[in-house]
Assembly symmetry: D3
Homo-oligomer: 332 residues x 6
Amino acid sequence: MAQIISFGEVLMRLSTPGFSRFEQARQLNVTYAGGEANVSSALAYWGHKTAHVTRFPDSPIGRAASQYLSTHGVDTSHIIYGGPRMAVYFLETGAALRGSQIVYDRANSSLATIDPEEINWDEILKDAKWFHWAGITPALSQGAADALLNGIKTARKYGLTVSGDIFYRANLWKYGKKPSDILPELTAGTDVVIANKENILEIFGIEGNDFVESSVNLQKAFPQVSKVVDTKRTSISASHNLLRALLWNGTELLETADIEINPIIDRVGGGDAFIAGLIHGLISFNGDDQKALEFGVAASALKHTIEGDALISTVAEVEAIRQGETSGRIKR
Amino acid sequence: MAQIISFGEVLMRLSTPGFSRFEQARQLNVTYAGGEANVSSALAYWGHKTAHVTRFPDSPIGRAASQYLSTHGVDTSHIIYGGPRMAVYFLETGAALRGSQIVYDRANSSLATIDPEEINWDEILKDAKWFHWAGITPALSQGAADALLNGIKTARKYGLTVSGDIFYRANLWKYGKKPSDILPELTAGTDVVIANKENILEIFGIEGNDFVESSVNLQKAFPQVSKVVDTKRTSISASHNLLRALLWNGTELLETADIEINPIIDRVGGGDAFIAGLIHGLISFNGDDQKALEFGVAASALKHTIEGDALISTVAEVEAIRQGETSGRIKR
Amino acid sequence: MAQIISFGEVLMRLSTPGFSRFEQARQLNVTYAGGEANVSSALAYWGHKTAHVTRFPDSPIGRAASQYLSTHGVDTSHIIYGGPRMAVYFLETGAALRGSQIVYDRANSSLATIDPEEINWDEILKDAKWFHWAGITPALSQGAADALLNGIKTARKYGLTVSGDIFYRANLWKYGKKPSDILPELTAGTDVVIANKENILEIFGIEGNDFVESSVNLQKAFPQVSKVVDTKRTSISASHNLLRALLWNGTELLETADIEINPIIDRVGGGDAFIAGLIHGLISFNGDDQKALEFGVAASALKHTIEGDALISTVAEVEAIRQGETSGRIKR
Amino acid sequence: MAQIISFGEVLMRLSTPGFSRFEQARQLNVTYAGGEANVSSALAYWGHKTAHVTRFPDSPIGRAASQYLSTHGVDTSHIIYGGPRMAVYFLETGAALRGSQIVYDRANSSLATIDPEEINWDEILKDAKWFHWAGITPALSQGAADALLNGIKTARKYGLTVSGDIFYRANLWKYGKKPSDILPELTAGTDVVIANKENILEIFGIEGNDFVESSVNLQKAFPQVSKVVDTKRTSISASHNLLRALLWNGTELLETADIEINPIIDRVGGGDAFIAGLIHGLISFNGDDQKALEFGVAASALKHTIEGDALISTVAEVEAIRQGETSGRIKR
Amino acid sequence: MAQIISFGEVLMRLSTPGFSRFEQARQLNVTYAGGEANVSSALAYWGHKTAHVTRFPDSPIGRAASQYLSTHGVDTSHIIYGGPRMAVYFLETGAALRGSQIVYDRANSSLATIDPEEINWDEILKDAKWFHWAGITPALSQGAADALLNGIKTARKYGLTVSGDIFYRANLWKYGKKPSDILPELTAGTDVVIANKENILEIFGIEGNDFVESSVNLQKAFPQVSKVVDTKRTSISASHNLLRALLWNGTELLETADIEINPIIDRVGGGDAFIAGLIHGLISFNGDDQKALEFGVAASALKHTIEGDALISTVAEVEAIRQGETSGRIKR
Amino acid sequence: MAQIISFGEVLMRLSTPGFSRFEQARQLNVTYAGGEANVSSALAYWGHKTAHVTRFPDSPIGRAASQYLSTHGVDTSHIIYGGPRMAVYFLETGAALRGSQIVYDRANSSLATIDPEEINWDEILKDAKWFHWAGITPALSQGAADALLNGIKTARKYGLTVSGDIFYRANLWKYGKKPSDILPELTAGTDVVIANKENILEIFGIEGNDFVESSVNLQKAFPQVSKVVDTKRTSISASHNLLRALLWNGTELLETADIEINPIIDRVGGGDAFIAGLIHGLISFNGDDQKALEFGVAASALKHTIEGDALISTVAEVEAIRQGETSGRIKR
């Protein structure tokens, strides 16, 4: 029985090898990934029992995607098969002053065309502890939004902790609804919110002079929210970044130091690794939020050195980085 | 100025390397191909000035697709940019008793969502000699069907020879029309029809006891049709086939001997290579239809030894096979 | 809860790419496989809940091996971590008149150094239906032999069906015991025996003029044995084989026709795929042993077209081959 | 009809993969490139109609080279086929303190053995706007030098702008002539000269205390020259460079800031990308030489992040870098 | 001290991967090979001390070539460094009815421009037993022809056995001499001649109704010749050949049975492997010419299953094939 | 006759491609390497005649290993064949803050199970000048320790210079002996010792406040020791290191400046390259120890830019770095 359940779209990721441009690539590397599934994958490597809920086409491609999640140790028994197609994203990895480039082809995916009744949330969530969602899902379609709302409500019913990555790109909402139509109700059922000051303003119309003020005001509007978390990235080049994070826990603002990453091997999924690390810490560190936040940043930094969306690591590896061991010496 | 114009969808082809199953592949080979474009590609290698008309998304992926056609020497200046997405097909190459497997993801492509007015057929066709289309295009959408019909009518206006590959898969027609609603008008403007007895019955309701009788009856219904052509494949295994072809030219039935192909490297595009060879022969062999038919079969056989949809060859190479040089000796 | 449990060594498989010789290879393909695990992998693709029991070193290599089995959908929660090292085998794939070559490096593996007490067979088997073992395991060490014997006894206690692949290579038995010291007791607890006339004579000293007579005599010695099964391979070259199988079910001899495989992509694991197919049939075909035997041969033939030890397939694919569809046509 | 015409040798580029040394490489990456063709390639991606003039052997290798230029959208219809061989260069890519290494094998190439009469410059240039050459061509042979001189004279006749990259390596001139025998006449017909103070002294014997003085004196000697341009590279390591450029336009010295590149993916072709960017700017920026110079440096910097000699990019990408967007953020 | 000395050009071999056409290949596989060096390589794997004499450019490419021969265990200490360039050949591997294609680029190589005085044949040959040459060397240049003649004369002086592969392609002789000007003197010093009836007629003007008669007449003209050997290839397709050989030893005609090879992995170097096998047999089999001839054919057949010019094998592997073990069973 | 002889285990090195984690790799790069053999390999590229002594299994894997050393020009004629298995190490290459990871699987290797009598040290060393060993060898087994001691004694008998890399990892000594049981006698016969202050204390119990004091005290205990050498690495990240070295020659402490390496391609073997450079300098630089030390550091730095354990370079390349040419400009 999985303890941590994530829900969201999984896309076929087709990335050019090395630093090839799309026009140059005669091969593409293929994996399967999505923000929420990336969280479950990272947590599974750390020994948590995780399951991901999504919908795949009933085709060899859908089966390959499901098999790929199994590779990471994620329980795939709740995946639903049906619908027209696998969502796809194309990735060209940049270097130095050339940024990476992502082209999405996700419209009309199997998840976007889901009927919310296809998911039996009671069965999936009744024995679990944590439910994770992200802001991209309600942008896909009314069906996906409804399915997510059902999930959050069911999670509340069974007393799970709910985390939501209130990520927001305006141009993704194409089916007639606006973020402000949907996200408030989802956030109302959420305990741990990942969002920055700008998101809080754009989505909820909640103002604040700084992250703390915005967080305080968010909590006033949504009393279930107990923690608000944000990451800060300094981008010196596509190959060289600094990372840190902030957490408002209702009483104090916690911060981490910057971690330097140079060179970056693959920064996609870095935010998801942060969330996975944070969740691991919140579950395992007996209320030491500062340590949980640092574990999240360490996990995210480590992810930047690994190709693919998924963080493949042990707890010990992340913990060593959290404790400042970033000199990269050989382990024998 | 291109002399031979093809029109139709071009798909991103994502094929597993070697004989990998979809579940095994961590890389996919990527090219861009489509039945009608394959015809233009093969003809371009033989020195014909060809152009392909299609519609690609205005994205790095669309530009990569266009660039790929340029690689084969096909004029891409008439390609239209716009619409939601690139059509895709996934290919798993079989061997021995395991057949290859194709999964299409082409719904809602940029070509399927075309507005027929976007194509200026007069400009494209006024100085050309030959126009080629296939039966998949009118199955995509009403817009694609209308665009094709405009193309055929314009081709007739300027006196081009028109060839049509009346290929037909019932499950592709999903927008409300049936083949019998659309294909008759397209066929009425076509000189060279590639079709077999079964197609002629299913699509047009035209009966016949054999290929000749069906062809004669097809000509009665569509007097513009001057030649009806068909290929016959004997499939011993996924790695071992025999190929031959038939041509009814209104007065006599021409046939070729079987060519044996063992092992097959890639049979996708084999039918398109046949059509390219046939068109080359009809243009270049001064009315020697038998030689044209043989050239088509030789081109198709050669294609089976080359990875990718496109036949990359010289006229001399195909001609040598047509003359029976299939022993595979080293050329120095 | 897994229904089918296999037990045995899993090796890192390092194979030269293409047809390279060991001296040429600068890369090796790496997967993880073993005869018994191959059976569980194939069955998992067909929807059976399977688990594999083995022992891996507690190292990144051991974790990678475990993750690889997860990829195939096999439950890895019963794997034990400890001991000195991962067993390895090196494979050079032959072609035409050059046979493939395998070099084993499995001495002193984590499984060979197992303490039988490390496995809690009651917990693993109490809710299961089928237990599968092979003759290589008791050859590894006394500990492995004892662990296997415990497994078979526990399986009998809970009423599982037990299948055993009485495979035998004399030079593998190096720890002081002979096959005749150990295999009789293991066979005594086994329902379905895979063995040929020569094995039966060499291991048990049981004679017979043909496969039926040997099988009858084997059943006399071991009354629990209800079926004896054998496969026959005709090796025309490393690239071209014929396969068929025999089954004695206590009352009649069942046989299949030959299936031809040309070219062979990878024949390693072909025997395991046969066993998986047979088990699937014995479980699912309501006592139609002939169909089960044919399904096994079809599964084995299909495996020969796939790189790696594991058969990745659907039931429908195998069933189509069983019904004679071996022409290798493209599936769209 | 191409508007921008380049002329010069195209070589097969055989580069070791990754950072392999020549002794390690069992595969070599193959593309086809040359300084002048690189200029045409970059400009073609930006929408200019470009054509390259060269001579290739009439062989599969020559055809592959021609096809490769087509890939970049360069018109290859003026390429001449004949002569003994394709020029080749071998490239080993360095990293950190190990510099890259180039080995040329270009003697006796098809271009070096050209008869100047083989090129019909009137037909090629009569409708064009710009002609580009480089100092390597007259070093190849008397035939190549004469062909180039004919090209420049014809360009002048039809009023084209002529740019010349007065690149100079003494050890390349092996057929009896010295740079000072040939380059003055070529430079006399050139509008935009790419050269540094040292080149101007060595080749023309024209002195100057700094780049401006040398440029002024060059203009005195060759009144057709309207602009003199130079790039400056600071090489911190093989992986880390800074780039800037200078332009004397007859009245003032324009300069750009340094752009930092770290890590460098492939610096070969960086100078050609600069020239392409400069030409694009001189054609498109309505006399804003400063912006043209900056566009050149931005194009060159971007080239360093792309494998291969050719800059594959859009105008918008280069323009963003010119405006200082070098933080490498992901584009979605 | 090497016992077997070969002399001849070594070329960089650049082959397209898999069955790619030249136009498709973005990587080329690189090895270094030549007919005579291939003989030394095969013999070195069988335990003979062999050395190859040739001339390479004094460049990283020349050093890589030399290093490659070392890989096969061939002594490279007699290689001379100097001259302009490495000879190159490009190989496209065919399949089924498409033959492989070789493009040579060997003119003006370092060996072709050798000064015969650069080789100290006395030092190289004084302690050796066997000297091997081929008919391509005297076609390269007068210098190469003279160097070879010096080698043969020195070999005779020290009593070595001399073998010569009188291979002949008319279009290779470009420096003014004809085969008939040079080959007779070389053949006069040779003991074992590899040639067919057609070669004997074309080169020496020596007639014969069959291989035996031609061989007898060749021996009359060149009394040093003790054996004449020929191979016969039946080419069913590029992937399927039959091989056998003939040997006239002055008193009787020996023949072997055909060996079937299907599929062929790489047939280049097959003739050289035959010669290596024959030399091994003539040295090691105590005058059993029949066995030596069979060993040669077995070696050649085995070579066809290995990528690259060089036969990498053990004596035991070849001997097993000679004895008819061609079923390709797995060796464990 | 080899002049420099090294002795020690050679392992199959299986490294993940690029920066893949073990769990991700479906291919592993394979080479063969060991600390002492790496020294011989580097020296062979610089023109020294070197031979390596070790023991390999008599299998295709053992032959491939031997062939690999030949590739580097190392004489393999003294390698002994026998014993159970090839030692293996697995390498995962890190980047940025993620260190590389090595997993050894070397127990019970062919070298560890050597009988010291198998090596004929008199024959191997009698005409040589230098003998090199490392501290890992006596940790393998008593047999290996005895074989090494025999080698050192024989080297002393014939007046060779002996260098020893007193490398020490406590967890490698598993056969019952401690470093302090064995290393003193080995060190007593050694001229050039590579060790740091910590090693000297841990192994010999010899104290010192700094490297000089420890070295002086070491020399007092072992009068044969004439030089003590140490390297210092500053690890900023897995991709960015600084390197320098110290040498106590009995009278003065020599030091080098730091060399910066960014990015690191492969740091494994960096220490061996240093020793090779030092030995080259001690042999070739007429007693200029400072220059020898600098040559060692330059060689080590260059190694970090090359994939694989072995330094492939020319003397000129290393010398240029020693003289400060680290700007990485292209060499043409």
